[in-house]
Symmetry: C2
Subunit: 371 residues, 2 copies
C-alpha cells in the first residue's frame, strides 16, 4: 500500500518539527490560496479576490454557459437531474453570510500542523444567491430513512493517498435549514471560478469545508458518510488514533482593521499620536454576537466596543467600533468576540492535530510615532 505511486505522491498528515520552517508545499498553498487582507474588513461584502479562497485540488475550468447538470439521487423517490440554467430561472433567494476557513489561525499553532498555513485572515462575507436546497430535496421526495445528504464537487485530487472528488455531507436537519442554498451568484454576479462556478453549496454558519464548490451531485444516504473529508480530515483530534469530533460551525471571532499604515516587510502598523477610531467585524456560527471587547495593553485589560446594527442574517458578520487615543510608544491591540451562547475567544489556543477551529484572539502590534 505505502509503495504505490499515488501514496508516494502524497504522504501522511504530520506536524512540523520544533523550529522547522515552512515547507515548499506549504508555501505553494500559500501562494495560490489567499486570505482577506484585513483592511478589507471595511467592506460590508468582500469582493472576489479579497474574499478568502481555499481550494484543495485544481479549480475546474468551466466555460461560460456550459451545461452543468446536477444529479439528486440516493434515498429519494424521484431522482432528479437539474441544470444550473433551470435553477437560475427559479425565484432567487439571497443571503449575506460570513465564511471562514476551518484552518484559520493554523500557522500560529505550536507544533504547526502541516497544511495551508493561515495566519488570521481566512474569512470573507458575500451575498450568495440561489435556490433553497430544501425545495430541491422536497421535489426529489426524501425517503423516510434519509439520514445525511452528501455533496460532490467537480474538483478532483489526492489526499494522503486517497484519490477523490471533494465530497462532504450534512446531517439531514442541517441540510433542511431554510437558508442552505444551491448558489450560482456571489455579490450579484455569476460565481467566480475560484468560488465554485457555476454552482456551489452555501451552508450559513458552517466553516468553509461545508461550502462545497463546483457542485455536481447531491446524494441522500441512510448512514453517516465516511468519505475522506468527513471521517479523516476536518476532525478535531489530539492524535491520529483518536476518532475526534467533527468540525462543524464557526467559533466566535472578531477582527480589527489594522490602524494606521504598514511597513511593507515587517507588516508592523505605524500610527501618529491622537484619536483613532478602532473598528472591525465579528461573527459566530453558533449564536449571534453579543459583545466585542478591545484591549490596548496586550490582553491585560478590556473595554467593551459599540456594536453596529444587528445583521439581517444571524451568520453575517457584525460591525463594532471603539475610539482609542494613541500615545507614543509600542502597543499591542487585541479584540475578542462573545456570542449569545456565552462562547468567546481564548487568549491561547487549545491545540489540535489538524489545526482546526482556532479562534484565539487577534493581536496587532502598533508603533505610535512621537508626532
Amino acid at each position: 500500500m505505502h509503495d504505490d505511486p499515488i501514496t508516494q505522491a502524497s504522504g501522511p498528515a504530520r506536524v512540523a518539527e520544533p523550529g522547522e520552517g515552512l515547507s515548499d508545499a506549504e508555501l505553494a498553498l500559500a501562494a495560490r490560496n489567499h486570505g482577506m487582507p484585513l483592511e478589507a474588513l471595511l467592506h460590508d461584502t468582500t469582493p472576489p479576490g479579497l474574499h478568502y479562497v481555499l481550494v484543495h485540488y485544481d479549480i475546474p475550468f468551466v466555460p461560460p454557459d456550459s451545461p452543468w447538470p446536477v444529479t439528486v439521487d440516493g434515498l429519494v423517490r424521484r431522482p432528479l437531474t437539474i441544470d444550473v440554467a433551470e435553477l437560475r430561472s427559479r425565484p432567487a433567494v439571497t443571503h449575506r453570510v460570513t465564511f471562514e476557513c476551518a484552518g484559520n489561525g493554523r500557522a500560529r499553532l505550536l507544533p504547526r500542523p502541516i497544511s495551508q498555513p493561515w495566519l488570521v485572515e481566512a474569512v470573507g462575507t458575500a451575498d450568495w444567491t440561489g435556490v433553497p436546497l430544501r425545495d430541491v430535496l422536497a421535489e426529489a421526495d426524501l425517503s423516510p430513512d434519509a439520514l445525511e445528504v452528501v455533496f460532490t464537487g467537480a474538483d478532483h485530487g489526492v489526499e494522503r493517498g486517497v484519490e477523490q472528488d471533494y465530497r462532504r455531507s450534512l446531517p439531514l436537519a442541517e441540510a433542511l435549514q431554510p437558508d442552505v442554498l444551491l448558489a450560482y451568484a456571489m455579490n450579484g454576479a455569476p460565481l467566480p471560478p475560484q468560488h465554485g462556478y457555476p454552482l456551489r453549496l452555501v451552508v450559513p454558519g458552517w466553516y468553509g469545508m461545508a461550502q462545497v464548490k463546483w457542485l455536481r451531485g447531491i446524494t441522500v444516504v441512510d448512514k453517516p458518510f465516511d468519505g475522506f473529508q468527513q471521517a479523516t480530515a476536518y476532525r478535531i483530534r489530539q492524535a491520529k488514533t483518536d476518532p475526534g469530533e467533527p468540525v462543524t460551525r464557526m467559533a466566535p471571532r472578531a477582527l480589527l482593521v489594522p490602524p494606521g499604515f504598514p511597513d511593507f516587510m515587517t507588516r508592523t502598523r505605524v500610527v501618529h499620536p491622537g484619536p483613532i477610531r478602532l473598528r472591525g467585524r465579528a461573527w459566530s456560527g453558533t449564536a449571534p454576537i453579543t459583545s466585542v471587547d478591545v484591549s490596548a495593553d496586550d490582553c491585560r485589560s478590556w473595554t467593551a466596543t459599540m456594536l453596529g446594527p444587528e445583521p439581517e442574517h444571524p451568520w453575517e458578520w457584525r460591525t463594532w467600533k471603539l475610539p482609542w487615543i494613541a500615545t507614543p510608544g509600542e502597543h499591542v491591540l487585541a479584540v475578542r468576540a462573545t456570542d449569545a451562547h456565552g462562547r468567546t475567544q481564548p487568549l491561547e489556543q487549545a491545540w489540535n492535530l489538524g489545526g482546526f477551529a482556532n479562534n484565539a484572539v487577534q493581536r496587532v502590534p502598533v508603533v505610535c510615532l512621537d508626532g
Copy 2:
C-alpha cells in the same frame, strides 16, 4: 536615525540565512497577496481573484462613485485636475496585456531574498480599459525639458524606514507609448479594489512595479526620479553598495498548465498513462514570443511546441501546446520560451539581491500511475 520608531518598525533589506525558514512576515505577505493558480492559464483573460496581486501597503478603501481627482503637474504648461468620471466619458481604449511581478520566482533563489515569497505564479492577463496617457500629457502640454513622468498612488506605508506614498516614474519616451493607459476597468468591469480602483496606470510590457495602482498624481520632471521604489527598490544588484540596473520590462517566460490532478499537500501532479495535451502560455515584454520548447526529461532534451495565433497585443501572452504520451513512473516536465530578440530562459537563475526578473524555467514533477 536607526533608533527612531519608524526605522525600528521597519528594518533593512536582507537575505535569508542558510536553512532559514520562511519568516512570519514573509508568510503574512504570502497570506494576503496571491499568485495565479496555474490551472488558470486555461483562461484567455484572468478573472479577479485569480490574477496575481502584490500590494505594498494597504489597499485603499474607496467607496463607489467617490470623486477621484487626478492631478497632472510639474513641467507642464497647463496643469490639470481630471476626475475619473471625466476620464470614463472619453473614448475608451482596451488592451489585453500580461502582467508579471518583478519578484516572481524569488522564493526559489538561494540565498532567498526576504520579501514577498513568490514561487512561479505571479502573473495574469486582463483587458484593461481607459484613456491613453499621452493624450492627457498632450493636453497638459509638456515643457521641452520634460525627462520623466512620476506616478503617485494612494497607498501609503513604510519601507526600510522610509514613509512614503507608492511612487514610480517612467522615462518620457515610455510614458508616451500609445498603449500606456490610465485604466479604470479590468475585463469590462470597474477595477476591483486590489487592482487599483478607481484608476491605475497600465504600462504594457513592464513588470508590475510600473503599473501604479490607486493613481492620484502625475508629475512631469526634468531629472531622473530618485524615489524609494526607483532608486532603492526594484534594482538588479549584487550588493547593497552596488547602484545596480533598474528593473524594467518582463523577461520571457513560459508556464505549463500542470497536467492531471494534484495531491493536496505535496502539490505533486498525478496522471494516468496515455496521451496528454500539454498546454500553457508564454510572454515577454521585450519582443514577441517566437518559440516555446518543452522537456519531458528534466531539461535534458527539448521539443518545439505548436504556438497559437500571434496575440493582438505584443505584450499579451501567447498559447502553446504539445501532445505528450505519459508512461508509468516519475517525470519532470519543463517549458522554456524564446522571444524575437533571442532572449530565452535560463535553467538556473542568476542571483540578485532583490530577487528580481528571475525567469528560470518552470519544472513540474509528475507521477504517472500504472494504469
